[in-house]
Amino acid sequence: MKKNYISSITLNFLATIILVVLIALPFYFAKNISKVAGIKSETPFLVVSQVDKFPQMFFGQEGNRYEISFTNQFPSQAYLAVIIINNPTNEAKSYNLQTSNGSTKVFFGEDYQNPITQIKAPAGSSIPVGILSESTPNSLQTVEFTIETK
């Protein structure tokens, strides 16, 4: 008898859900069947150069290969927020910096004592990229790097 009571409640509950779904269905359909085309960005990141804020620094790009050249002034020197990487998508993206071999490193953020080359950027966020250079003063340095998305 108790079993029947429980199954009756369950069945009525399920039937009510079916009824609610049936009533809500046309409005859900009406809301989602048509859309307006928006500007959909397929680009996983945008690079904004800030090199004009640094003296004698130059920025170049060829495809996904970026190049920054500058003249080193001290044996060990960090340049912060040389470029800004922006995530224009609607979801979080992971970026990875691949630097070519050399004494100059490219890193995310502004903590030059703990340079990181991999970061997860929330949707719409901007991340500064800095350069950490260790070489003889007044020498011309060139760093090449690529940005990979995961």
């Binding site: 009824l19 046309p26 409005f27 009406a30 989602n32 069947i33 859309k35 307006v36 085309a37």
Partner: protein, 178 residues
Amino acid sequence: MIAKNITKLIDEAIIPAMFLILAKMSGLFFASYFLNLEFEIKNNSFLKILPSLTYANITDYIKAENYSNLAMFLVASLGTAFVIVRAHFFHASHIHPKLHARLVSLNLESFVSSTYHLYHQAAIWLIFLWLTCAFLIISTIIGVTYPQISVIAAITTINFSWILAVDIEKEIELIQEI
């Protein structure tokens, strides 16, 4: 096991739900066809299985939405009006004897409906009518549907509800007389 009322309401809700979906689709199709609106059909973009229409610009989208929402509301109104007419003139509890006799002579007795059937049908159509009206008002607030459509929808919905309430009142009086 399942309450008879719920089963009856589910049964009565299937056809109106289908009509409303068809009205929305027809509204979009006819608006796009006759107004030459630019759109694109994108497969598997709605619920990952159904196609959806993507309009090239906001003006075309607003036009299509307005006409399709209006079509949806017209279907909900017509359905409710049909039930109201049946409740007033073909209601088994208070049908005019002359009309009843005429329907029997024409072999159209199926037009006469019981209170149980009519009020379940009316409840479903009224729910759909009020929800369509609410849908239009929300759509107007977010700037898609023209306010005139929502105003007409609200006035129609209130009046239809009132007419049905009059019939329910009449039915209660009849029960009390018995």
